[in-house]
Each structure stands twice: as structure tokens, then as C-alpha cells.
């Protein structure tokens, strides 16, 4: 009896003590919300929540990883190049915060490359030179840091395809990268960290059917 009561008491009183449980619960709610938010206002709300979590949990990189993704989505929701850049600055800032907590991480390096790639898209003619080099370098480094990271392969493929199209023709090796990503997505498990990134499988399959299964042109 006393034991039961004690359990009840701790359950009621230790909401803040059991910080980990709270962290995972809060992240578990905000990660899908970040992917599904449809307006800049809703997305900003999710980013704000992730920011609060990130500031409270000073040793967790995950909030900043998803903030970076959130700002990439936010950048995508805006038309104006100057505004796009402003959100990409914030995305990069978030990647860097996460990297301070977890240096040399394949997922974060891939996210950094993703920001560079989006930067390039804002003005390919002028920025091609600089940002294609930076994006390629990041994706290649991400593959090197963890060859089993499917997102690194998928993003590398997008960059290869975009460059080949900009230059005229071909896939620039993109389909090989997408195929690598597909195999890795199939094996992906996140047993040790349920908050680690899992996104990308669906879009990877979509680009494969759009680009690679039509003969590669």
C-alpha cells in the first residue's frame, strides 16, 4: 500500500524530474508537427516550441536539427529571395548550434548541405559556382561520415540531378545515389534513438519513379 502511494506521489510530483520522458514526449509531438505544418504561422509555432525545448535541454542536438529543417520549409513557403535567404540563415544557425553539441555528425552535415542547396536554388545563375561546390562537399562528407545514412545519398542525388539538368542533360549519377538511398532506407532502424531523423524515404521513391524509371532523361 505504502509502496503504491509512493509511486502515485512520484508520478504526480516528478513531471519535471523525469526530464527525459518529457523531452521525448515533447519532441514526439513537435517532430511530426514540423513536417505537417502548412502555414508559415503554424510552422513558426512549432519552431518556437522546438526552440524552447532546445534551450532547456542544452545537451540535445535533435531540437536544432528539426529547427533547421523547419526553417528550410519556411524558406520554401516564401517567394521573395531576400526572405528565403533570411530563413536559410536561421537554418544554418540551427545546424551550427546542433554541431556544437554533436560534432562530425553525418545527419547534420547532410542538413548543412541541404541549406547550401536551397541557397543555390534561390539564384542558380549567380550562385551556381559557389554553392554547388559547397553543397557537393557537404553531401560527400556526410556520406563519408556515415555511409549508411540514406538522406546523405538522397540529397547528393538531388544535387547531382539538378546540376546535370542545369548543364543540359543526363542525371549526373543521381539515379545511382537514389538507389543507394533506397536500399539504406529499407534497412534503417533507430533502435538507439527514436528521435533521430527518418525522413526522406517517400520522396526518394517519388524521384526514382519520376526520373530514373523513365529511362533517366
Amino acid at each position: 500500500m505504502r509502496k503504491n502511494l509512493f509511486i502515485l506521489f512520484t508520478a504526480l510530483c516528478s513531471i519535471t524530474v523525469l526530464a527525459n520522458g518529457q523531452f521525448e514526449k515533447a519532441m514526439g509531438k513537435n517532430i511530426p508537427a514540423m513536417f505537417t505544418a502548412e502555414t508559415p504561422e503554424a510552422l513558426q509555432g512549432v519552431i518556437n516550441q522546438l526552440n524552447r525545448i532546445g534551450e532547456a535541454e542544452t545537451n540535445r542536438w535533435e531540437p536544432y536539427y528539426y529547427i533547421a529543417f523547419g526553417y528550410i520549409r519556411m524558406s520554401d513557403m516564401h517567394e521573395n529571395g531576400e526572405e528565403k535567404d533570411r530563413f536559410l540563415d536561421l537554418a544554418l544557425e540551427a545546424v551550427e548550434k546542433a554541431e556544437n553539441i554533436k560534432p562530425n555528425d553525418s545527419e547534420l552535415e547532410a542538413m548543412r548541405g541541404y541549406v547550401h542547396m536551397m541557397r543555390l536554388v534561390v539564384d542558380p545563375a549567380t550562385r551556381g559556382m559557389k554553392y554547388s561546390g559547397m553543397a557537393f562537399a557537404s553531401f560527400q562528407k556526410a556520406v563519408q561520415l556515415d555511409p549508411t545514412n540514406p538522406r546523405a545519398h538522397y540529397l547528393l542525388g538531388r544535387m547531382q540531378y539538378g546540376t546535370a539538368q542545369f548543364m543540359g542533360a543526363g542525371d549526373g549519377g543521381a539515379c545511382e545515389s537514389f538507389a543507394n538511398a533506397k536500399a539504406l532506407f529499407a534497412e534503417e532502424e533507430n533502435a538507439d534513438n527514436p528521435l533521430a531523423p527518418t525522413w526522406g524515404n517517400e520522396t526518394n521513391n517519388e524521384v526514382i519513379s519520376m526520373i530514373c524509371e523513365k529511362g533517366g532523361e
Partner: protein
């Protein structure tokens, strides 16, 4: 029993975790509500995002000495200790003035950079402009405020002479920035546009950091660390070059060697001039950059070249008589600069440059050998007091030694001078808000030759009139030493002075920009003489004015894959200088200048094509056969140029260009014999281009591990 035991616990619990509601409203200083602000209890997950009315509300179990944080992009963060009264809060946030939202003082200046969104031009635009032949001044000559002076190719800005525009690389002055060219052929800048990541072309009212230019400052920023290793080979109808870039994490090296020889070209394409030795040039560019720390950068740059040409020029009075002309130039420029942030709010820039130029020119038995040695050292510190106030100050020393030997059959005559200019400058930039900014600067100069001190103010202001539009104003005084020959003859010759008033309106939207600028420029202390080699005829009381209106429209949006811009300049100018018997419109000025630049990428043929049309109205010339000074008028100038870059493969690009496609016979002016013939008539002839058209062909090959890289962005 159970309840009795449980109750006190529950009581303890609920008092420990009493739920509090925190609510309120967040607004700007002006009262405008802010949407999307993150309001939360510091160190917790508890918080909310403000709605469209700036309202927020959330609950927390936290208690005691809580700090409420309001955080929003572009605003100063608020940290507020919470009291326990649960009253709704009203939080006022103040906007941060940052590069992103602050009004930019644009009066007088065209900025270009790879990154900036609010700039009218990109460095890339320089190299893709038809007719510009990948030359920086060539492309800038399609902007309003410049006057086409086809026989020199230099930047003549708002009624100013070509020498009234000075070029600065990484803050350092460049002497003799143009390569020598054949008579009546546009000279090219020695500096390749590929070296620069940004530039600011000021057509007046520029910063107190720069001096010794009456009309215009062309401020170039060289590229930082290179990202990729690459090697480029260019095979051109006028020569060949090889360049390589090697990058490591913290340093990069770039080198380019170029050899140009127009002999084969002149054999193929008829020239109006009779050549003995077509222009030949060896040119090398070396750049080395080291990242000395997270924020520090050390840059070395050198340019060395040797060029020469020989031709025959017929005598004006006696066209049968052909006189040999010889032009030679040896040039070396070395530039080192260093910048670093000293703490959070302090920045330091320092640099030194050294130039040596040896110019030799001969016409028949007369020759001029001019040697210039230049040094420039500079230290600039800047302090950011707050997001709204920044101060920049510095000192510089500019030394120039010029030695000239004039020779003819009767002997030789040597002149030289040693000029030392010491300058200090201070400039403050203050933003009353993100929509209203002011800049005030003061420049003090001491010239060792005239022993005079000058103090010149520079003022400017800008006000955002809307999301996309702004107005700005600028005022400034500028001094410049007179032309070299005057100082050689009389080293104590007074400096010339210009005063600028500029008003500008700019409208910038995604893919479209419009600007209009009106100006009034006054000249004082211009050098007058009746004989340029005779200092006893010098007077330093010349004067003049230039006023006008510049219009610019650019649109990259309306037509798919098409970018075009239109420039128009109206100029009204007169000056009393040199040997003018009064106030007249000088020969280099034209009232109307108009140009249209069009660039289009055509997917079907994987090619970028460009067209440039330039028009300049009539220019004055003096015909000694009439009594009225400068009463002659040339025909108007027209030029239509075309270029095409074809992407043969990822690494190979073919480029072709034709200037003056229509073959219009442009006349820049008329020149007359020094003495009248037996009938009392001064023989004359038109000054025309050396060839009607210029045709250029080139193949550009890139070798790089990164297959995505080629020279397309360079063409």
C-alpha cells in the same frame, strides 16, 4: 484511512505545482502587434507563440523567480522577471537594425555582389554583357551616369574626365589601371572581373574613406578563399591563357598567365591602321589567400604585364607622310591586405600596395618615357557601438613618384616629382530606425607638394518610403591633384575641387529594379593654361558645372530566361579649364547617353546570347578654321554588339562576340594640323575606331574534379 494518508500528499503536490496562466500581448514600439513571437519561461518548455493580434497565453507549473523571455527574429530579445500578480503583460519589442532590414544609402552608388539581393547588379553581369568584352569599365559603361567615349574605353562619369575616376582594390588605390591600347581603340582594365566578388561603382558622393577622385570611385572587393581546385584553359582568337586554382581548408592560390597577340587577327580582319607590330602582351595574375582565424583573412595579389605595339600614323597635313608610332608598357602591381575582427564590436582592415609602371611612347623622333612608382598604406578601424551606430576611422599615406623624359632630335628634357599625401578620415553611420539612416564623414588631406591641408565633408541620408522604395540624398566635397603633366611642370600646382549634390529614388522588387537620380556637380580650382608645357601660363581658377538626370530600369522577371536593362543619362555640362577661352562643353561630354542590354539563355541551343545597343548624342570638337571655339559637332554614336556562349559540354564552352554588328562608321571627333597650309586652311580628319568591327572567338575548357564546374559563369 487511505484518503487520510493521500490528502496531505495531494495538498503538498498541488501547492507545489499550482498551475499559473501567463498571458499578454507583444507589440512593436510603435504599437503594431507582432505575430510569431516566442514567449516562454526561461529554461523550460512552457511558452506560446503570439497570434495575429500579438496575444499569447500559456500555463506553467513553474514558480519562483521566473524569467519571461520574448524572442523574435530581427528584434532585440526581452528578458523580464515575472511578478506573481498574474496581470496580463504588455511587452514592447524593439527592432534590430541589421544589414537585412536597414535602409541602404544608395545615392550615387551602384553596388554589385554575389550575395546581396538588394543590389542592381551582380559581378557576373560584368562578364556577360555584350560589347563589354569582359572588361569591368566596359560593362559599367552601360550604366547611367557614364558617357560613351569610345576612343578611350574609360569611365567618364557625369561630365567628368576619365582621370576623375579612380579604382581601388580591397581599399587600396590602383595607379594606371588601364592597359595601353592602340590609338582610338578602347583601353581595357588590367584587372580581370573574375577576381572580384563585389564592387561598388560610385558616380558621386562616395565615402570619406576614399579621396583623389573628383567624379567617381570604383571600389572592388577581391574574392575570398576559393572552394574548389580547378584549371582553366582558354584558346582565343587574340591569344591564350591558363589559370589554376588550388584550395586547401584555410588557404587558396589562384594564378593566371595570359599571352595576347593580335597579329593573326589583324591579318584576317582589315584594319584602318597600318601595323608594324600588332599589340602583344604578357600578363600574369597571382592571388593567395590565407584564413588566419575564424574571422581573419590575409590576401596577397599581384599583377605584372609587359606590352608593346608599333604602327604608322599618317601626318594630318600630309597624309602621304607616315610616321612610326611605338607604345610600350611594363607594369607591376602588388597588393596585400588583412582584415580581422578584434572582439565583438571592433574590426580592423589594413593594407599596402605598390605599383611600378613604365610607359614609353614615341611618335617619329619625339618620345616620352614616363616612370611611375606608387605606394599606398592604410589602416582602418571600425567600431559598432550598437546595431544603430557604427563608426569608421583610419589613416593612409599615398606616395607617388613620377619621372618623365621627353626627347626629340634636339635633345632630352627630364622632369619629376615626389608627391606624398597623408590623409585621415572619420565616418559615422547612424540609423534612427531601420527606415531612416544617416552617414556623416570628414576627410583631412595633406599634400606635400602644395603644402596645403584640405578638409572635406561627406554627408548622406536615406529613407525607406515603402517596402520596396526609398529615397536618398548625398553631398560631398572632393579634391584631386591636377593631371600629371601639370604637376611635372609645376609641382606646387593646386588641387582641383568638385562638390556633389545628389538625390536618388530607388524601387526594388524581386527581379525588377528602377532608379532615378538627379545631380548637380560644381568644379572649382580647375587648371587653366595656354601652353600645357609652360607653367608660366598656368592659372588655377578654372570652374565648371555638370548637372543631369540618370534613369535605370532592370527586369529579369517579365520574359522567361531573359534579363535586360535600360539606362539613360541626361547631361548638361560646361567648364572653363585647360586652354578653353571661356566656359564650354568639353569634347568628352555628350548630352544624351542611352543603352539597352539584353541577355537570354536559350535552352534549345544550350546557349546564352547577349545584345547591347549603345547610343551617345553628338560631341563637340574645335575646328581652327572657324572662329567659334568648340563649335563643331560630331554625328551621334551608335553601337550594336552581340555575343553568344555555347555550352558544348559540361567542361567546354565556345564563345563568340562581335562589336558594332551593323558596321556603323562612328566618329569620335576631329583632329586638325597644328599649322595652316598655304591657303590658310588647317587640314583635318575624323577620329574613328581602328577597325569598324571587333570579332572575338574563344574556346574555354575547364578541368576540375567537380564536374559541375565550368567557365560559363565567367562568360
Amino acid at each position: 484511512m487511505r484518503a487520510i494518508i493521500l490528502l496531505p500528499f495531494l495538498f503538498i503536490c498541488s501547492s507545489l505545482f499550482a498551475q499559473t496562466t501567463i498571458s499578454g500581448r507583444v507589440a512593436e514600439k510603435s504599437g503594431e502587434p507582432l505575430l510569431g513571437v516566442n514567449v516562454y519561461i526561461k529554461g523550460t518548455y512552457d511558452g506560446a507563440t503570439t497570434d495575429i493580434n500579438g496575444n499569447f497565453s500559456f500555463t506553467t507549473y513553474e514558480e519562483d523567480s521566473l524569467i519571461l523571455v520574448a524572442s523574435f527574429i530581427g528584434f532585440h530579445e526581452i528578458n523580464l522577471p515575472l511578478s506573481k500578480d498574474n496581470e496580463p503583460l504588455l511587452i514592447r519589442m524593439r527592432e534590430k537594425v541589421s544589414e537585412l532590414n536597414a535602409v541602404v544609402i544608395t545615392a550615387g552608388a551602384f553596388h554589385a555582389s554575389e550575395e546581396g539581393k538588394r543590389e542592381v547588379l551582380k559581378p557576373l553581369d560584368i562578364v556577360t554583357t555584350a560589347g563589354a568584352t569582359a572588361d569591368v569599365p566596359g560593362a559599367l559603361n552601360t550604366l547611367p551616369g557614364t558617357q560613351t567615349v569610345g576612343e578611350t574605353g574609360r569611365l567618364f562619369v557625369r561630365g567628368g574626365d576619365g582621370r576623375e575616376t579612380k579604382t581601388f582594390i580591397d581599399g587600396m588605390l590602383v595607379h594606371n589601371e588601364y592597359s595601353p591600347s592602340a590609338p582610338n581603340t578602347p583601353g581595357r582594365s588590367r584587372f580581370s572581373p573574375f577576381m572580384f566578388k563585389g564592387m561598388s561603382f560610385s558616380t558621386g558622393g562616395y565615402s570619406a574613406e576614399y579621396g583623389q577622385a573628383l567624379s567617381s570611385a570604383l571600389i572592388l572587393q577581391s574574392k575570398d578563399l576559393a572552394e574548389n581546385d580547378r584549371t582553366d584553359i582558354s584558346l582565343m582568337s587574340v591569344g591564350a591563357d591558363v589559370s589554376t586554382t588550388q584550395a586547401t581548408e584555410n588557404s587558396s592560390f589562384a594564378g593566371k598567365v595570359q599571352y595576347t597577340n593580335l597579329t593573326p587577327y589583324f591579318k584576317l580582319v582589315d584594319q584602318n591602321l597600318k601595323w608594324d607590330k600588332a599589340p602583344e602582351e604578357y600578363n600574369s595574375n597571382l592571388a593567395y589567400r590565407v584564413k588566419t582565424s575564424e574571422t581573419g583573412m590575409l590576401k596577397f595579389y599581384s599583377n605584372a604585364s609587359r606590352s608593346d605595339m608599333e604602327l604608322y600614323e599618317s601626318d594630318i597635313a600630309n597624309p602621304e607622310l607616315e610616321l612610326p608610332v611605338k607604345v610600350q608598357n611594363d607594369y607591376a602591381h602588388f597588393n596585400v591586405s588583412y582584415r580581422e575582427l578584434l572582439g565583438e564590436n571592433w574590426g580592423l582592415k589594413t593594407g599596402a600596395s605598390f605599383t611600378k609602371s613604365d610607359d614609353f611612347a614615341a611618335l617619329d623622333t619625339e618620345s616620352r618615357d614616363q616612370n611611375l612608382t606608387g605606394f599606398h598604406g592604410k589602416v582602418v578601424a571600425d567600431y559598432q557601438y550598437s546595431d544603430r551606430l557604427g563608426i569608421l576611422g583610419g589613416v593612409e599615406l599615398i606616395r607617388r613618384n613620377v619621372d618623365q623624359i621627353l626627347s626629340d632630335e634636339s635633345g632630352s628634357f627630364e622632369q619629376d616629382f615626389n608627391e606624398q599625401l597623408g590623409a585621415s578620415f572619420l565616418e559615422a553611420e547612424w540609423f534612427a530606425s531601420s527606415s531612416l539612416g544617416f552617414k556623416a564623414g570628414l576627410r583631412a588631406e595633406n599634400n606635400s607638394l602644395t603644402s596645403k591641408n584640405t578638409l572635406t565633408p561627406r554627408l548622406s541620408a536615406a529613407y525607406k518610403t515603402g517596402d520596396k522604395s526609398q529615397v536618398s540624398l548625398a553631398y560631398g566635397q572632393f579634391y584631386q591633384a591636377p593631371q600629371t603633366q601639370i604637376i611635372l611642370s609645376q609641382p606646387s600646382a593646386s588641387s582641383e575641387k568638385a562638390t556633389h549634390f545628389i538625390a536618388n529614388y530607388q524601387w526594388l522588387s524581386e527581379g525588377q529594379s528602377f532608379r532615378v537620380e538627379a545631380y548637380d556637380k560644381r568644379y572649382d580650382n580647375l587648371t587653366r593654361y595656354s601652353q600645357v608645357f609652360d607653367p608660366s601660363t598656368y592659372a588655377f581658377d578654372g570652374y565648371g558645372y555638370a548637372r543631369g538626370l540618370d534613369l535605370f530600369w532592370r527586369d529579369t522577371k517579365t520574359f522567361k530566361n531573359t534579363d535586360y536593362w535600360v539606362s539613360y543619362s541626361y547631361l548638361d555640362t560646361e567648364r572653363a579649364f585647360k586652354d578653353f577661352p571661356g566656359s564650354f562643353t568639353p569634347t568628352f561630354a555628350s548630352t544624351h547617353n542611352f543603352s539597352v542590354v539584353v541577355k537570354k539563355f536559350i535552352d534549345e541551343i544550350k546557349s546564352q546570347v547577349g545584345l547591347t545597343y549603345a547610343f551617345a548624342s553628338e560631341r563637340t570638337y574645335h575646328d581652327p578654321n572657324t572662329d567659334r571655339f568648340l563649335s563643331g559637332r560630331t554625328p551621334a554614336y551608335h553601337d550594336l554588339s552581340f555575343n553568344i556562349s555555347y555550352l558544348y559540354s559540361n567542361q567546354v564552352i565556345v564563345h563568340a562576340m562581335v562589336n558594332n554588328v551593323l558596321g556603323i562608321n562612328n566618329i569620335y571627333g576631329y583632329e586638325f594640323a597644328d599649322t595652316a597650309d598655304t591657303n590658310g586652311v588647317y587640314a583635318g580628319r575624323a577620329i574613328t575606331p581602328a577597325a569598324r568591327r571587333f570579332i572575338f572567338l574563344g574556346v574555354f575548357i575547364t578541368l576540375s574534379k567537380n564536374k559541375g564546374i565550368n567557365q560559363l559563369p565567367n562568360l
